[in-house]
Symmetry: C2
Subunit: 270 residues, 2 copies
């Protein structure tokens, strides 16, 4: 049994308890709030992924796709899972996270055993060029963002302060930076669905102050080394208020560990 | 009523007939087969999207995510739909396409009214630089691929013949080209989920001869102009047999109309 007293917040706050066949109780914490003071979407996705891990016949999330139906709230939640298709190489399941009887997130996810992925490898891209984390700047200038409690849990370092942090958005909605848990919890596959959504939206460099994720898909590519991950984020197409945000996550050994894309909507975009 | 005799194959072959509350009968045609002689995944997704359009309260697919569970086959199919969440701006539904009592594809999709998307627009990318379609080369050298019946329905033109077509893969799994229906059917939102999956996999330029799509997400950004669309495709990260394939689709007026990403697995990749 895990020693709850010494459990890292990420592990404590994504814990699920089986209460029925495929049904789990969860408690959504207020320690992972995003801009707007609501639980971060990646955090809700990590809870769903953890519930799915309990029922899937293969160990590793491979492709995880979430549709965010309503804002979540701190408090109790229920996650109902379904094994859609077992399989020797790839298995697919669905999870529905509800609060107060209303569905908040629907997730479909394929699982595999990434350590057994023995096919061809050819990586044409590479990790972003960044100063070593110990030589890099804390992107929140040593503080956290009031009300955005996820910034108390996750640490961000990069070559220089983002423009939006200093009140002068650069106009370029892209960037690269390091990320890790502040408390030293290792980066692993389970935490990547959170981390890909844990940074400030790239559109803040366009002077925007918030954006709501409608859909987020994460491709998990390899088990990461435990420490810092190097992230490259970009939005290139903002159309009628809708925009993508792409992220690549590379581990400290220079290995691609995740790619994600989300579709998000600026406030008042419609 | 549509005149079936003059209906375009895409419209005839994605037709669904309500047979129960949210349940539809479909017939999977052999006219959209991909490499391997099985129905193209994008075609199956287009059938699911068409069924969802019958039940969703908003007209336009916005974000469509499909997990391919088993290969489909020509013949009867059933599509069961569910409105997961209505909504004034965005509504989300699910579709499950089954054949012979076994689920083949699971789709979650958000719908919106893209003509009412009045928020901010800032497009940093642009369409690929291509010769005009009438000056471009037919990428199948004027023929079709035997057994790959989708190449009888869709036409591809680009600056020069792909390396894999001439037996000398270039080693660069990226490219840009024009695409349209051969029979003159207009490109529209409904056809984009098919078209993003209708071209030869980019990894054919790596000497590969097939790849199986596990997951495909399409973001629909705007109603396209009716004719040729300009596509930019790339795979950059092939890891252990798994690879992404990203596509951008721009209409003839230079407007971004769709972005897609799929996760696919090379044969024998595991």
């Amino acid at each position: 049994m895990a020693d709850v007293a010494t459990e890292h917040p990420f592990d404590a706050d994504t814990r699920v308890e089986a209460v029925a066949a495929g049904g789990f109780a969860a408690h959504i914490s207020d320690r992972w709030n995003a801009l707007g003071g609501r639980p971060n979407g990646g955090y809700l996705l990590a809870v769903c992924t953890r519930a799915l891990r309990q029922v899937m016949p293969l160990p590793d999330p491979l492709a995880v796709s979430a549709f965010f139906l309503r804002p979540g709230s701190p408090g109790p939640a229920r996650v109902d899972t379904e094994v859609v298709r077992g399989g020797r190489r790839v298995a697919t399941g669905e999870a529905r996270l509800g609060q107060g009887g209303r569905e908040v997130v629907r997730v479909v996810a394929s699982f595999a055993d990434l350590r057994r992925a023995g096919g061809r490898t050819l990586v044409l891209g590479g990790p972003p060029f960044l100063p070593r984390p110990e030589d890099a700047v804390d992107l929140l200038a040593g503080g956290t963002m009031p009300g955005v409690s996820i910034t108390e849990r996750v640490e961000y370092r990069g070559p220089k302060l983002p423009g939006w942090v200093t009140g002068t958005p650069t106009g370029d909605p892209s960037g690269s930076f390091w990320m890790r848990f502040r408390d030293g919890r290792a980066t692993d596959l389970a935490s990547l669905p959170l981390l890909v959504d844990a940074a400030a939206p790239a559109v803040m460099e366009l002077g925007e102050t918030a954006s709501s994720t409608l859909e987020l898909t994460v491709h998990l590519r390899a088990h990461p080394a435990p420490g810092w991950v190097a992230c490259r984020v970009a939005t290139r197409h903002l159309v009628g208020g809708y925009h993508e945000e792409d992220m690549e996550v590379w581990d400290a050994d220079g290995k691609l560990v995740a790619q994600s894309r989300q579709l998000a909507l600026l406030p008042g975009g419609l």
